[in-house]
């Protein structure tokens, strides 16, 4: 047999160099995602909507001087017109609906992203710790999750809203409170099976600290499902926010959110059709794209799930 040193000389040729790039599983998934046309298109739509929400209101204010709360009672509610620049029309108080929809989208996206991120981070760490230590720790941590699951969510939110002042941060708390539970369960299940795998035993056998095993070895391996769940949580959270605001429990006027806008629109839709149609289209487009993107991410991260 050749000594290792000889092996080294005979097999290391420059011709191999292309193969020697480290390709991570994330890179693989990214490549798969890029091939999924629907997901890419929806990704662009999402990015476009995010940019529009982020910059649109300021741009409109800068050019036309409308803000989301500036009223023009003499103008009143009128349908979409190009001049004056009310692409989505105006509402009962003469406020530019496009600006209000974009600001509402801003709120919705913020709520969706923050609530989903909090849910993912808290849930992942909670689930990983619970699954890793197992036994009594796991039992008590998971029973706590069960208890929170069992609480009637709407009831909880209504109580929170009546005790504290209605505010945006309260909305985050209310949504975050329930959002992480499912993530925690998913991650715990993953960790339970992962921790029995040989590479975790190998990590132990070289004296890795528990905290490193959890954060470096276990959590990255659970991130696939977590990311998938995250991308599907964002639209859910947006929907929840809209729902709560629709009920008057979330964002308070004059600040618009997609939910309050549609609530207003629903009250007047027989007269001023545009007040429901445009926020509705905007929200559907946003949710549709986010969901499609989420599906694409799932297919990319878990190729086995794909049917083809």
């Amino acid at each position: 047999m050749a000594t290792p040193a000889q092996n080294l000389n005979t097999t290391s040729t420059p011709a191999q160099s292309n193969l020697l790039e480290g390709t991570s599983l994330w890179r693989d998934a990214w490549n798969r995602l890029k091939k999924n046309k629907a997901a890419v298109v929806c990704g662009f739509v999402v990015v476009f909507l995010i940019i529009a929400c982020a910059l649109g209101p300021n741009l409109i204010e800068w050019i036309f001087g409308y803000t989301y709360e500036a009223q023009d009672l003499s103008y009143g509610a009128k349908g979409p017109t190009l001049r004056p620049f009310h692409l989505f029309g105006t509402d009962f108080f003469g406020r530019d609906l496009l600006t209000r929809v974009l600001v509402g989208g801003r709120v919705s996206l913020k709520v969706g992203l923050i609530a989903a991120t909090v849910a993912a981070v808290v849930g992942t760490i909670y689930g990983a710790v619970s699954g890793f230590f197992g036994g009594k720790v796991d039992d008590s941590m998971m029973r706590f999750v069960d208890v929170l699951y069992a609480l009637p969510y709407m009831f909880l939110v209504i109580i929170l809203v009546t005790i504290f002042e209605k505010s945006e941060s309260l909305l985050f708390v209310a949504l975050g409170l329930v959002g992480w539970l499912t993530t925690a369960r998913i991650v715990r299940g993953q960790v339970l099976s992962l921790k029995e795998q040989e590479f975790i035993q190998a990590a132990r056998s070289i004296g890795t600290r528990n905290i490193n095993i959890i954060f470096r070895h276990l959590i990255p391996n659970t991130l696939g499902p977590v990311i998938v769940y995250f991308t599907l949580t964002v639209p859910t959270m947006i929907l929840q926010e809209a729902f709560l605001s629709f009920l008057g429990l979330g964002i308070q006027p004059p600040k618009p959110s997609l939910g309050t806008l549609m609530n207003d629109g629903a009250n007047q839709m027989l007269v001023y059709w545009w007040t429901i149609v445009f926020p509705g289209i905007f929200m559907s487009l946003l949710l549709f794209s986010l969901n499609f993107l989420g599906d694409g991410v799932r297919d990319a991260l878990d190729p086995k799930m794909r049917k083809d």
Binding site: T11, G22, I206, G207
Partner: protein, 323 residues
């Protein structure tokens, strides 16, 4: 020669809902510095559990240790604190696992996984660790180690991954290497390379190796001394040469008869050992091998045989050889 490890009356049981599995039941052996010791036995004879037990890696519960003492370089592993154990693992004792395909974390580069052990135990900076890891990869025969190190495990073949595992195990120059069936998952040519590599590293660094295998051929080429395990106990211990030339225990005989030999008439059928390994939660009384033993007598069913010594390095536990 200096004694590196001594194991005395080690028992590792697993508590299940209704029964107790006696995976290791009264194991005693010593290991010298720089020695290669083979542990042979069928599946389920407690080899791997012993191996994990030496590093206290068996999950507790369900595992527990009713008795036993493992002394490694003056430290009793079983009484060591978690922190002491963590410092021994990977640094003084390290382990190569059976299946290289699942022993590396698929989400981390080889570099991260190799450097982890160095940063943990030797307090090196990332750069120093990387350099050392590259040297070690070259040492175990990985071509272009400086570039291969940035890759992920799925970009390595099985044999290469086993080399990475060996490199990882040897990075801190451990005193003791536990090789739990290191070649079982590999094909024969790669097996030979990996075994040669381990032997070379043993000579060069003076690392003691405990080689656990069910493959007598592996032991023959590697180990100076060998233990034969059956149902959690050592049934025969001898120098590897004696074990092959004058096996005493009927189980060792049976094992030797069940492997093909070059000097045998071609076409002759192998003699498998009849029956199955015993249920470790319900061992037969007396000698646990008696239901399958061709030489069993009544006495074998009642009491476990005493150790019979043939010469200082060779002994076996059997009533028939003592008679």
């Amino acid at each position: 020669m200096e004694k590196l490890l001594s194991v005395d009356d080690l028992r590792i049981y697993f508590k299940l809902e209704k029964s107790i599995v006696k995976a290791v039941d009264g194991l005693s052996f010593d290991l010298n510095q720089g020695e290669i010791l083979g542990i042979v036995g069928e599946s389920g004879s407690g080899k791997s559990v012993t191996c994990l037990g030496l590093m206290d890696l068996n999950p507790q519960p369900p595992a527990y240790y009713p008795s036993g003492k493992i002394v490694f370089k003056g430290t009793n592993i079983m009484k060591a604190t978690k922190e002491q154990l963590r410092k021994i693992r990977g640094n003084e004792i390290s382990m190569i696992f059976q299946d290289p395909m699942s022993s590396l974390n698929p989400f981390l580069t080889v570099e991260t996984q190799l450097c982890e052990v160095l940063i943990e135990h030797e307090g090196l900076t990332a750069d120093q660790a990387r350099k050392k890891a590259i040297d070690m990869l070259a040492r175990v025969g990985i071509p272009s180690p400086d570039r291969r190190i940035t890759q992920y495990p799925h970009q390595f073949s099985g044999g290469m991954r086993q080399r990475v595992m060996i490199a990882m195990a040897l990075l801190c120059r451990p005193k003791l290497l536990l090789a739990d069936e290191p070649t079982t998952a590999l094909d024969v040519t790669i097996q030979a390379q990996i075994l040669d590599l381990m032997k070379e590293l043993n000579r060069e660094y003076g690392t003691s190796i405990i080689l656990i295998t069910h493959d007598l051929g592996v032991v023959a080429g590697m180990a100076e001394r060998s233990l034969v395990m059956y149902a959690g106990r050592i049934v025969e211990r001898a120098s590897t040469k004696d074990l092959f030339q004058k096996p005493k225990h009927p189980y060792t005989h049976a094992l030797l008869k069940s492997i093909p030999r070059l000097d045998e008439v071609r076409g002759k059928k192998l003699d498998p050992i009849p029956g199955l390994p015993p249920d470790l939660s319900n061992l037969p009384g007396g000698c646990s091998f008696h239901p399958r033993c061709p030489k069993a007598v009544d006495k074998c069913k009642q009491t476990y045989p005493d150790v019979v010594t043939f010469d200082p390095t060779h002994n076996a536990s059997c009533w028939e050889v003592s008679a």
